[in-house]
């Protein structure tokens, strides 16, 4: 058996192990890994997250047991001190020696500490390992204890420096980023985008100092400040150096491998050093005269070394290495790809800048306007994946290239095609080098059946995760092209459609959410399946939302609509829009007493806005005492049945539309459905009640009513379609009972009647058969179910104000009677409104 020794257990060293054991021919080799940090390899890219949770395990790439399970001998806390090339042997600081057949150097790099006088003072740190972070945190909390407004400087305004800035902000010190170059992230950004990023950072409380070279660290033994030049100093209590990296190449140097003039172990495109059985990968390797400080090229090097050692000699490193990066710095998107900034003789740039929104986008286009050469995105990098792919694959640019960054004018929006248009060779996940071909064939070969499988199989998205939207699109489109139905299940907790779940609940007599999870679900539920089941329970048992309030959508839980600032609206039912003067006065009195904004709605009722949670029961008590009921404006339930005055007053009226509207509203009030329901009754075909824009509409004609169903206003207005003509009041109710119940049972969650009808095979003709002709022989059952719901109606607000236990729900704090002091209202046209949102 041959032995491969890996020196270094960082991200690239780990990736080597992962790729090595995944290759079938690895059995003939024994793998020994040395790491001089105390723990196994962790994710250094996300190091700043350690400040938030101090959870080293969360950063771990794989636990120590993973190495063992895969037959890898992992030796941590021990350093390799010497290589005897001729004897093929290494020595460690524990005095051990091991012989190898192949040696892989993945020793990475150390932070570069510039030779500034005083850099050895207490309070100066570097930013590289978890241990560095722990020391920094301990020191920062000491400072904070004596100086609550302490300051920390970060030397270096590159990627890592800005990450460190975030860490300082999290530690509660005032961060100052000091950069030698005249711009931030000098390798990735041009000066305009650097300006935009600087504005954004400063708005977050991070000070930026550009074009500054420190020549001295001030202070006795402990750092007190930095001096840049005459009369130019910055007082700080702490300094974090992240001014670049230097390869950890001592081993190569001492054993006589070929070295770069400024460090780094020289490798060829097989990742081989000047000794053919010694490989170097990651930040210690000098390839094409360059040290690559990004994780993606490091991973690719690991892959090449694995293949070379295991005999796949044709796998070599490409000549050009893509240095594109996309990251999120303190919540700000920053991305650059290809040639981010370039001399004018190579091409032309299209630049969009909006400093008010901290937004900057630049793309560089060849002189013939056919190819994308590179670009920069700051503030919004949502188009990065597509732009990056266009660049990598040399795809043709659209005629108006500016649409790539400012969006297409007119309909349709995106200037990009679908991810399916990319060539198979397009690299989708650059961290793991996964192509579009890899992803699609994983599904086509039957190895995977879902997004989850694809991720498990290919490891795509497991690096930075930036490619997830594209991978998801590819998986969904490929599944569709294979004719596989992506089943419309409720969510990960219930693998059923709403209709299936309705059947199960009914047949098994399930009546609580926990019971449903136990009998046909898994996990602990979510914001999708809870309200869906609440709606199903309501359809079967017609209990009010008070019965199991924690599974209700928030609005149903508090029996009111949450408004923009967390206050609520109060909407009593005014059936058919008919209201007595006395009741109008009550509404006015209540609104005045509680300072509520008052408006007449499109559904012919009166909304009172701006009620605090604590006041809701008292407000409703007054309304209920005056004879009002809940209007269910907060629920997926019947809202209003709008009416015109009809023949009672109108000289054209054919029938009493108000009376009929009130009858219908009172009949269907309180019934929960997959989405909200609205109705209308018009007294003649002039249609003043807009009944054909409702889920159900009735219009008086010669000889009876015409009944229309499945219309709506909203984002996609739909006219309701004729279900039956010239029918009497009783028949309208019979058909409506059947229609509504059929919809409630079979629609998907949050699907309104119009969308439901569109999906119903056979459309309106089929619906007529079921409702009017009773082709499924279920009409009687539907009518009975509806009647039982109607009979069980109870006003849930009445329940809430009469029951002290329910009343307790409406307290903002459970441990004090204080009110929410975050609620801010501003005056508007003699009334009030919530303070506008600033973000």
């Amino acid at each position: 058996m041959k032995t491969v020794i890996v020196v270094g257990n960082g991200m690239v060293g780990y990736k080597f192990c992962e790729k090595f054991i995944a290759t079938p021919s690895n059995n003939a080799y024994k793998l020994i890994v040395f790491g001089d940090e105390p723990r196994p390899a962790y994710d250094r890219v996300h190091l700043s997250e350690y400040f938030e949770n101090q959870d080293a395990k969360a950063l771990e790439l794989a636990p120590a047991t993973w190495y063992k399970k895969n037959g890898i001998e992992l030796i941590t806390g021990q350093r390799v001190t010497d290589i005897k090339k001729e004897k093929r042997e290494i020595h460690t600081d524990a005095g051990d020696s091991h012989s190898y057949d192949y040696l892989v150097l993945a020793t990475g790099s150390v932070p570069f500490v510039p030779p500034i006088s005083g850099v050895e003072k207490e309070g100066v740190f570097v930013y590289r390992t978890i241990e560095d972070l722990e020391e920094m945190m301990a020191y920062a909390s000491q400072i904070k204890a004596i100086k609550p407004n302490g300051r920390a400087a970060i030397l270096g305004g590159g990627l890592l420096g800005l990450e460190a800035g975030k860490a300082v902000l999290d530690m509660g010190l005032e961060p100052h980023v000091v950069e030698f170059a005249p711009k931030l992230m000098p390798r990735q950004l041009d000066s305009r985008s650097s300006n935009v990023l600087q504005l954004k950072l400063e708005s977050m409380g991070i000070q930026v100092h550009l074009s500054k070279a420190a020549n001295q660290i001030l202070g006795d033994k402990v750092i007190e400040g930095m001096e840049f030049g005459e009369d130019d100093r910055l007082d700080v209590d702490m300094l974090i150096i992240s001014a670049g990296i230097r390869p950890r190449d001592e081993l190569g140097r001492t054993c006589g491998l070929e070295m770069g003039t400024r460090g780094g172990i020289v490798v060829n495109n097989k990742m081989q050093t000047s000794a053919e059985d010694i490989f170097a990968i990651g930040e210690v390797a000098l390839y094409n005269q360059m040290i690559y400080g990004l994780v993606a090229p490091g991973y690719e090097m690991a892959d090449v070394a694995v293949n070379q050692i295991l005999g796949n000699r044709e796998v070599v490193m490409p000549d050009d290495i893509d240095m594109s990066t996309k990251l999120k710095l303190m919540g700000v998107d920053v991305a650059s790809f290809g040639t981010p900034y370039m001399p004018a003789d190579r091409g032309l740039s299209i630049i969009f800048e909006n400093k008010t929104k901290h937004l900057y986008k630049r793309i560089n286009v060849s002189h013939d306007r056919k190819t994308l050469l590179g670009g920069i995105l700051v503030g919004d990098a949502s188009d990065y994946n597509m732009l990056h792919q266009m660049y990598l694959n040399g795809m043709a640019l659209p005629e108006n290239a500016e649409e790539l960054i400012v969006g297409a004018r007119g309909e349709g929006g995106s200037a990009f095609g679908s991810a399916m248009d990319l060539p198979d060779t397009a690299q989708i996940c650059s961290c793991e080098s996964i192509t579009k071909g890899n992803i699609c064939s994983s599904l086509l070969d039957g190895k995977s059946e879902s997004l989850k499988d694809v991720i498990q199989c290919t490891k795509a998205t497991t690096g930075c995760g930036g490619c997830k939207p594209m991978v998801t699109e590819l998986v969904n489109e490929t599944l569709k092209s294979m004719g596989k139905e992506v089943k419309d299940v409720i969510c990960e907790h219930f693998e059923y459609t709403r209709q299936e779940l309705y059947g199960i609940v009914k047949v098994k007599g399930i009546s609580t959410y926990n019971e449903a999870l136990d009998k046909c679900g898994k996990g602990h539920g979510c914001e999708v399946c809870k309200p869906a089941l609440a709606s199903i329970f309501a359809t079967i048992y017609n209990d009010t939302a008070n019965k199991e309030d924690v599974i209700q959508d928030s609005n149903d839980r508090f029996l009111a609509n949450i408004q923009r600032n967390g206050s609520y609206s109060v909407v009593p039912r005014i059936p058919g829009g008919e209201i007595t003067p006395d009741k109008l006065i009550v509404l006015g009195d209540v609104a005045k007493e509680y300072g509520l904004y008052t408006k007449i709605t499109g559904g012919q009722r009166i909304d009172l806005f701006g009620a605090e949670l604590n006041d809701l029961p008292a407000i409703w008590k007054k309304l209920i005492d005056a004879g009002f009921e809940s209007g269910h404006a907060y629920g997926k339930a019947l809202r209003t049945v709008k009416s015109c005055v009809g023949s009672t007053w109108c000289r054209y009226g054919m029938d009493e539309s108000v009376s009929f509207a009130i009858e219908l509203e009172d009949r269907y009030k309180g019934i929960r459905s997959p989405h909200k329901l609205k109705g209308g009754v018009s007294g003649c075909i002039r249609e003043c009640a807009e009944a054909r824009g409702k889920d159900f509409g009735v219009i008086a004609v010669e000889g009876g009513w015409n009944l229309y169903v499945c219309g709506n206003g909203g984002a996609t207005p739909k006219h309701a379609q004729l279900l039956a003509e010239q029918i009497d009041n009783e028949t309208v109710i019979k058909y409506l009972d059947r229609f509504l119940m059929y919809y409630i049972r079979t629609a998907a969650p949050l699907m309104r009647t119009a969308a439901w009808l569109e999906k119903l095979e056979g459309g309106i003709e089929q619906l007529k058969k079921v409702v009017v002709e009773d082709s499924l022989n279920i009409a009687q059952e539907l009518e009975m179910d509806m009647q039982s719901l109607v009979d069980k109606y109870e006003c849930e607000w009445k329940q809430a104000v009469e029951n002290e236990e329910i009343g307790k729900r409406f307290k903002h704090f459970v441990n004090t009677d204080d009110r929410d002091d975050n609620l801010v209202f501003v005056p508007m046209r003699e009334q009030k409104m919530p303070e506008p949102w600033t973000n």
Binding site: H524, C526, V550, S554, I562, G566, F813, D820, N839
Partner: protein
């Protein structure tokens, strides 16, 4: 507005200096949540009755800076306990505070302990 967010920094168990007696266990609905006040902080507490676990986090949703998270629905995704904001259904892990369906800043989470029917929340100050 960002200053409001800065009131809330995550606390891990080993950083706790004060265990604040927040409320009675029964003040928090089973498999639901409610809000308590501690000094100038609003803290949402959630009772995962099904798995006998309790969680606490800031009541402030970092999306629109409203004090509403306690009124949201709890649940889990792939085993991670989460809260969905009632405003726009932004979801956050109750373990790490991470925004699970977007790029919002993480919310601060706090340790919870139960003693003699009372709920205590751990603060670092």
């Amino acid at each position: 507005m960002d200053t409001l967010l800065q009131h809330y920094n995550p606390v891990s168990t080993n950083q706790v200096k004060t265990w604040f007696k927040a409320c009675l266990e029964k003040d928090i609905p089973e498999n639901g949540g409610a809000c308590i006040k501690y000094q100038n902080k609003q803290i949402a507490i959630f009772n995962y009755k099904r798995k006998q676990k309790w969680y606490a986090c800031q009541n402030l949703c970092p999306h629109k800076m409203e004090m509403v998270l306690s009124r949201g629905m709890i649940g889990d995704t792939e085993g991670i306990p989460k809260i969905a904001c009632p405003m726009h259904k932004k979801t956050f892990s109750l373990e790490t505070g991470e925004n699970l369906n977007g790029d919002l800043p993480s919310i601060a989470t706090f340790p919870v302990k139960l003693e003699n029917g009372f709920v205590y929340i751990g603060f670092s100050e």
